[in-house]
Symmetry: D2
């Protein structure tokens, strides 16, 4: 959880800039013997890949991942498995178009990290946002694909639940719909409305915010380390570390600040299997920082990108006032592609805590 | 950020249970030469101390802190200063009343960590919630007092902005009011309304949620480590790790998910001092995970406690259904006392990042 | 492994100065359900306690340890067990005699950390060496006692194998002898010779170096994390972090730098139990950073203390030349009391790696 | 200091197997604005490169390094500088000859990590030792080259001081000689003797151990964190983590265990520059875990490789006795190529502690 690394036992370190030769990551601490192929990682990457609809950036990147280390043929199955050593993943940058970005060398785009990187480091790779570009999130998705392989029996899924002023109707929620529209929207009716709405935003050269919900089902009870390694605290950090995210909530979230204890409580009864059963899930699957065995539910808000056709007031590196307008390709709603990224981060946090819990308590909660 | 430790260079490790002999913490990595007295820490502890109004738990704890190590007389000033070694702080538990809690030995209180601790560890100190009690937050406040001493020129303040359905009017915001009422409320009119409202909640044996806002002014530009040590990601983890917190947001927060880019942008112009000046602060003082130099603004939602006079369905350790009702003292709105805790956590994150930035870049941003 | 903390999953943080009110530690990440009493820790502390013979410092410290948190009565056994939360241990300093040390406020004792602490921190607790005093090692022994409880079936023992020019005869090695003399010497003949030798050193107001050997038997195969968490690398750091230690070796150690491959190899054959059996242990129980299942053998050299009756040239804080002679109590051979400290550090490293291996691989190597 | 990462603020993560497509590392936490080219790293890699004399393995690897991220043209100097983000380095494996190693798939080579990797992970890349191969040390040297760039004014050099029974004569020590022979030997006379000696070892298909000494001059006073981040403890871990290393010592090292205090002391006098001056350096530049300002001196013993033409008893994966003899290329004295690796590790530890000290104390010790 410092610089470019995330996780404690299952630890992901990413590198690379938007317009450098390649991007990559090292996944360290992965358990041995997990079957893993490039194709399995590719499936997840393809869900995040840009240029798949008119609603996301038109940058064309095949995002073909290569596994450079840490996986070897297993003599038992003959297939490739993790060896317990560091796994290196690499994706070449293909569609770099550096010329598009030459004019932002001197100008700080408002709402971007241009100014803060420069103020902190004194130098920055300005091409396409360099290190601060959301291109980095491809490696989160790749690492998340490995985390998913560790989480046997756990399903991590996400959906977009709001674009701007339009929120889905939860009564119409269908996971099957999520793959049927370019928004990861679980509400077929809303997906159509969003298409119109976002076309308007896009044509106006504007942008709009969104809210993503990610849910993990099958999470065993007992994951999370009080007091400062709480499962929800790590989820909060994970989601907030995604580009453009400005808020995170678990279960009832901010609504819990507005209601009474009677309405927020999750009562319990013994289930037929002899295990405690929660009668509701306002807590979002976490109590005292430890998973309850119910679905873990997190939501996060993604701000509208500041890359717009509207001219905005800003300043230059050398200290002059300037007006900035973002031409060229961009996402009218960056929240859309944040869905697989949020899923990946949730999977990474859960995999890490699965190993951490196994280390301390000896319980193999997913066995 | 694991188990009972928080922070990377400025690192806080807490210990102790609600009804053990004492609670304490070790603050490691503190810069040397910072003047520090027990009285300075006590001032902050007294703001969090229980039993100061009818709206918080009636547990009587003087919370007298002792410094056991890491501070020594400076031969230059003659006063006590930090020595750069580990600082140990200890508070005796006085008002323990263990008998009040004997009936929760077997029963899991809904909405509490009783069940999850038991499921994870197989054993728990059930007295007053043991380790999961908010009593632990006293040590956060104590450690935060040290963090404040490091943050020269930075002011970290907090306020309660919502209790249940009643939110303050920001036009009436006055920091001077915060100390004039038992709610840390910056809105004098709302403070009176809350008193009535909370009396009703309290008499009904109910509880209610709240929202806290914490603001750090004077934060220099450049604090925060992309990609996975972002300032806002660490703030999110810090706040979410506080007992009963279910959501965190920075700047516009979740509202950013509902609006357009034009309404969320923070335009810039050169200021009179030759530095860039932001014309608004929708970002809450953080861009790309790095502080902008504007006030850092975070909000978090605190759920209503599940300790209520209403009978709730639950189960026992041994697997029987049971109904649980919480008699005895409790906070009708645990969000109130979360205000100084939120401030402390923000100060700890900022002090840690101040040192981290100084380590990597060599810039003493607060000099 | 930074500042005042050691270990990754089983993590020990110590605090306190030689002449402060108390010293202590926090043991974090301990598995739950381990039975643990103050008496069990006390047994180990008593082995390190000063003033037990004329060969160690005459400082009188009962070193009575108290457990302040992290242990609670188990409802299954009725006895106290670890709860999985942070364990706080505290020992009061009793025999402080601050007056003895007032003259070293201004003078840097050669060979001590006086100058380096001052140069680094600008301030130091000079009383008895403050934080740099070997008094800190009491908490290592206490934490090591907890580590031993985790290491079911593992025996960690140590012995002094050299004092100055006199090395033991390994043919006379008897573990039973170690408790029969004030030197932790496994060679009864040498123990008598050391007594005479050290009396001479002591009466001359001189000091002498020593070599300690620590051995862990019953260590399962598979502990240690290549490449940078190697078991032997962590042991090296652990031993070198003990006061006055200047060298560490594993198995054949430095001798391996002088011999041929044929003489250093450990050949293997299948054992009767169907497991590989090593025919020798030149490797000291570690290959490629991972334990082999053989005894883990480490040795470390402890320098002679610079506290002597001989006058030594030095300088003052204010920059004047001065001659320094150490009156008062001190250890003529600090290596003696380093034996239980070395054992404790080995136990801590092994406990940490036991949990780390369990976390990554899921194998409960000690089950 | 876990799995495949080393360092705290300056953090190196390596990946890759001996016969995979490539090896690499990520250097995280590097200060921004450090000028850095591939050529500067290549110079160091070329010193470690195999196949440069008849005394090292004949594997032919050009070891051409590529910088994939974290470096960008500086607009002030026009040259490439570090940006403060993660630096990714990659080297293609060229001369893999996998066929040579097919027969070790089933057989555990004695003295190698074959058995322990298999026992721990259940699977291993057996080709050329896979992850446990010394090929990994190329990335240490590459990362060390970056560390050197940070350490302005510090010179880190190493030399081989012993091969088997032949130790250099320190009176003949000349740094200029180190580059004049294939052994990094500072003693021209001994270098010739070693050539003969090692030819005999090589022709006999045997191997022999060695001792390396690494020295850092220009290290400022104040680097190192007591108690558990001591400079010498981190050096010990760093050296012990190098393949085949079995012992580490600082300054007088193990000799300190044999002598009296009077002979081990480093007296002090005020120097002409108004700073304390040590009159000797038995401590090897570290007191109380903190650098003294004198040269930091470390030595480490490298065992003879077990890859020999002599037949050794061993076992197979499937549990049969077998005799193993290593044909093909190997190093008769792996200690030779450990010299640049030891230098690199010392540089990495010093760079890390330089940043750590700057973070905590604010002192830019190298400015």
């Amino acid at each position: 959880m410092s610089h470019n690394s995330f996780g404690h036992l299952f630890r992901v370190t990413t590198w690379g800039e938007s317009h450098g030769p390649s991007i990559g990551c090292v996944v360290d601490g992965c358990p041995p013997g997990i079957s893993l192929t490039e194709a399995e990682i590719q499936v997840e990457l393809d869900r995040r890949r840009p240029g798949q609809s008119r609603f996301t950036t038109q940058r064309q990147e095949p995002d073909q991942v290569r596994i450079l280390s840490g996986v070897f043929e297993d003599d038992k199955t003959g297939g490739p498995v993790t060896t317990g050593t560091s796994i290196s993943l690499l994706i070449e940058n293909v569609d770099q178009r550096s010329k598009d970005y030459s004019d932002i060398r001197e100008r700080y785009r408002p709402g971007h990290a241009d100014y803060t990187y420069d103020a902190k480091y004194g130098v920055r790779d300005y091409r396409g946002g360099g290190r601060s570009s959301a291109r980095e999130t491809a490696m989160r998705v790749a690492a998340g694909a490995i985390a998913r392989k560790i989480l046997k029996g756990v399903t991590v899924r996400g959906a977009l639940v709001r674009i701007g002023e339009h929120e889905i109707d939860r009564n119409r929620w269908s996971w099957d719909e999520v793959g049927n529209n370019p928004f990861f929207c679980p509400d077929a009716v809303m997906a159509e409305r969003w298409a119109d709405y976002l076309d308007g935003i896009r044509k106006a050269g504007s942008s709009v915010g969104a809210v993503v919900e990610v849910i993990a089902e099958g999470v065993p009870v007992g994951l999370g380390e009080p007091i400062y390694g709480k499962l929800d605290a790590d989820i909060a950090a994970a989601m907030m570390s995604i580009n453009a995210v400005k808020g995170v909530e678990i279960g009832n979230g901010f609504e819990a600040g507005s209601i009474r204890g009677e309405d927020n409580a999750d009562e319990m009864r013994m289930g037929n299997d002899g295990k405690p059963l929660f009668l509701s899930n306002h807590a979002g699957g976490v109590l005292g920082g430890i998973s309850t065995g119910q679905p873990v539910v997190a939501r996060f808000a993604v701000k509208p990108t500041s890359s717009m056709l509207t001219s905005m007031r800003s300043v230059t590196r050398s200290g002059d006032d300037v007006d900035v307008m973002t031409k060229g390709r961009h996402d009218p709603c960056v929240g859309i592609r944040a869905v697989p990224v949020g899923e990946a981060m949730l999977a990474i946090v859960l995999a890490d805590h699965y190993l951490r819990n196994r280390g301390q308590t000896g319980a193999d909660a997913l066995a």
